[in-house]
Symmetry: C2
Subunit: 253 residues, 2 copies
């Protein structure tokens, strides 16, 4: 049922995709969900190559029918390309859950290892791990794990903490960061997924937050990456949302 990414011959008759090509597809997928879309520059940043290299690779992927491209424009995945990308996201997030739950990795350690393993595991490995974990639907950062049929539940009702008005209450559900130091900070502040929070007030540099009694400032950088399952402010006349300093940004995976 899964799209083949690895060694097998592809859906048409083409050879397999290189790890590099796989990473391009995955980053295009993740960036496509953002406002800017998958631009050459952003892809270069995420993948760690120069823009010229991105242009070259995108041409190749377009020839192989995995992306659609117009020069000087953001690139889009074809259905084939999307399937491969989502398959990789499934691998990545399943692996993060596995590393965390079964092997006892810390939550800030899982990303890097999953980044390498995602290209290498077989469909059998994917299946066995999914069974071992009883088909989890979230990774340790709260990111949804696509199903085996590659359906990806998108959380419509999650909002970036940075965009919440004063008085909002809710629960942190996703942390879209992957930098180890940033993740450690989140943990130090007890802002892991599942934590109940209340917005005590806004602030030029972030959000003032009430968590388990204590009250402190969450910097914008962080607040943009904490996605909250929120109820509107209990009884105030605050606007439903406001334009924040930072918008949520998809994180690398």
């Amino acid at each position: 049922m899964n799209a083949a990414i690895g060694k097998q011959r592809g859906r048409n008759g083409s050879a397999s995709l290189s790890h590099s090509q796989q990473d391009y597809l995955k980053q295009i997928f993740l960036l496509s969900a953002t406002s800017r879309g998958a631009t050459t520059q952003l892809l270069a940043d995420r993948i760690g190559v120069r823009p010229a290299s991105v242009t070259g690779m995108l041409k190749k992927l377009a020839e192989e029918g995995l992306v659609e491209r117009a020069p000087y424009r953001a690139v889009h995945l074809t259905e084939t390309g999307r399937r491969i990308a989502v398959e990789l996201v499934r691998h990545h997030r399943l692996l993060e859950a596995f590393l965390s739950r079964t092997l006892g990795y810390r939550w800030d350690e899982v990303h890097e290892e999953a980044e390498a393993l995602e290209h290498v595991i077989s469909e059998r490995f994917e299946q066995k791990v999914a069974e071992l974990l009883a088909h989890p639907d979230r990774d340790p950062h709260g990111d949804p794990i696509p199903t085996r049929e590659l359906a990806l539940e998108e959380d419509q009702h999650l909002t970036a903490l940075a965009l919440l008005p004063k008085g909002s209450q809710g629960t942190i559900r996703r942390v879209t960061l992957q930098d180890q130091d940033a993740l450690n900070l989140v943990e130090k502040l007890d802002l892991l997924p599942g934590t109940a929070i209340e917005v005590a007030g806004t602030h030029p540099d972030g959000i003032s937050l009430l968590v388990a009694g204590s009250r402190f400032l969450v910097p914008s950088l962080l607040a943009a990456h904490l996605l909250v399952d929120h109820a509107p402010p209990p009884s105030s006349a605050q606007p439903e949302t406001r334009e924040g300093t930072g918008r949520p940004v998809a994180h690398e995976q």
Copy 2:
């Protein structure tokens, strides 16, 4: 304590080794334990490339101080090269044990997956898996797993079934095959590691074997790859060993 193989900078200051280079070192190590040694031709067969490619790579590895080489001769690992090779063997066999025990792979399925994963897992992954399995000393084929300090117990007292004289009794300890069909045959015949056997007689095409009451012919091809922990024949006057048709051959990993 472990030699770094992966992404890290190497022992001197050199960059990391490619997966390809790692495979060469591992196969040189495994072939060095055989009578023919690590020749260009055998390496080409094992690695799946042409002999010309092997010559080219061996030159590169020699320049990097990982092998010592004389043209037209079998190649040898330096101490540095050996450490990297043994580290890979540890990864491979630990992974086989993990796939078999934790993920429930069949014993004929573990090799291929481990072949890909061995290059990609971190030292952390290695350590966590070793802990999870309580530091196993054998993989599912009975192959010894090098310790974290890279000590590799070699089983001096194991003999290929093909070389045993009539009347010998013993226990199968290792199965040095990796072909799936061959492994399935071994399983069908109940010749897994741990099985007690007795040599009922020799035969031009193999060995006649007594296993759990039944008696059947084990073809030479197989008998050369079944390593037995044996006692000499109980009270007969048979010679201790004999020259068999096939000698034991290290298997790929």
